[in-house]
């Protein structure tokens, strides 16, 4: 570790952020602050702008208007202190461990440390035994765990996840949830989009409910599921949880 610990990225502030394509306001004036600590889960109907919001926060998209500001932003050319795991894991045609050492190389980790750090990350997600296997022939669940291990090896301050278990069977999804919980326990801020309300309950400390590009409700998870305040959220929960 560096002797001088860099100032924290968090809190992240969004100030009246909009993202417009043509005439469609995909994100329509969102202001919010994300603090270190609680696991933030973003839910909402299809097309609400969840994934776009995540990409805006992570810097993969630029807002059409408004401001997105980290407290102590990453300077250009500096290693990133945030990571993202996508719905479909994007892995290179190399071995599992080489996928991680590649990311470590970009992050400027000295050559001699990469392998041990990558192995440590693989061990944490239970993939040590496939370290030497080509990444793309692993099962779907293993590939996603490898993507998480790659993110974990970078020791990010913030981890964004975009429906990380959408393509997985319940068993594999459960493994992923365990890894996410462990990363959070390790001190990483979790910001996750999910379509699965059961998962949102299990993993979420706070819920952001998006509707038509707006932040319709923000609440602690237990309260949100017990007693949503906004009508849209109530309707959404009713539609999604048929009991």
């Amino acid at each position: 570790m560096d002797m001088r610990t860099p100032l924290s990225l968090l809190p992240l502030r969004l100030d009246d952020v909009a993202f417009v394509i043509g005439t469609k306001r995909i994100i329509d004036g969102i202001s919010l602050q994300l603090d270190a600590g609680p696991r933030t889960v973003i839910v909402g109907p299809n097309g609400a702008g969840k994934s776009v919001l995540l990409r805006l926060c992570h810097g993969l998209l630029r807002p059409t208007s408004g401001r997105i500001a980290w407290t102590s932003p990453e300077a250009p050319g500096e290693p990133r202190r945030q990571a993202m795991v996508f719905q479909r894991p994007v892995l290179l045609r190399r071995t599992a461990i080489a996928n991680i050492t590649y990311a470590l190389a970009i992050a400027g980790v000295p050559h001699g440390w990469r392998v041990s750090r990558a192995l440590e990350a693989l061990r944490k997600v239970g993939l040590e035994r496939v370290a030497g296997h080509p990444a793309r022939v692993l099962s779907g669940g293993e590939q996603q765990r490898l993507a998480l291990a790659r993110a974990w090896a970078l020791a990010p301050e913030v981890l964004f996840l975009d429906e990380p278990t959408a393509n997985l069977d319940p068993g594999a999804a459960h493994e992923i949830e365990k890894v996410i919980a462990a990363m959070h326990a390790d001190g990483t801020k979790i910001v996750m989009v999910t379509h699965n309300l059961g998962q949102a309950r299990r993993l979420g400390d706070e819920i952001l409910f998006l509707h038509q590009g707006r932040l319709a409700e923000r609440a602690p998870a237990d309260r949100f599921f017990r007693q949503p305040v906004s009508r849209d959220a109530a309707q959404f929960l009713e539609g999604e949880l048929p009991w």
């Binding site: 993202m84 290179l92 045609r93 190399r94 992050a107 080509p134």
Partner: protein, 234 residues
Amino acid sequence: MSSLSQAAVEAIRLVAGADPKLSEIVLLSLRVSLTAVAIASVIGLPIGAAVAVSRFPGRRTVIVILNALMGLPPVVLGLLVYLLLSRAGPLGSAGLLFTPTAMVIAQAILIVPIVAALSRQVVEDAWQEYREQLRSLGETPLGAAAALLWDLRFSLITIVLAGFGRAAAEVGAVMIVGGNINGVTRVMTTAIALETSKGDLPLALGLGMILLAIVLALNAAAYMVKESAQRRFG
């Protein structure tokens, strides 16, 4: 008909007997075209990958030009290289005209656009899939280009082979800058052209058979490498 079958029998005898004159021509052909394709790959693959992952003004023009240059007529290119290398030309003092080096230069220039344009297409398709992840990791455009070239290595073999096929099969450029000098710059295609016009069909036919066999064998090998790699690496 009988003269054709006679020629074919004679051709097979030449090939089977590894006729020294014939082997010399075949080896020079391979040396020239393989060197040219190696040089063209070292230049063309990075160009293709860099164009694929970067956005700059005039990018579309570059792509159109690269695509258009794929169809560059070898004789025209041969003429240009001839003018460059001839005694009075800007590079005339190097004394390269009518040497195998001149032929390598001409063929390399001929296939750089093929390798660059085709790899640009392949890398750009993959870039769509990888872009967000690599940017998320903080990869630079040039780093991404290098990573993608390595990731697509098995698909790029086919492109490099297409370049080799073009180089080994063209006759116009090597004829002009090499001069088809017996024992010095005579390669398979120029020899075929010459022997045919002289009426020595067996040698022409034998060389044609070898040329076809080489191209076929290389493509079969590349196909098998690609297949087995896809099974292993996904």
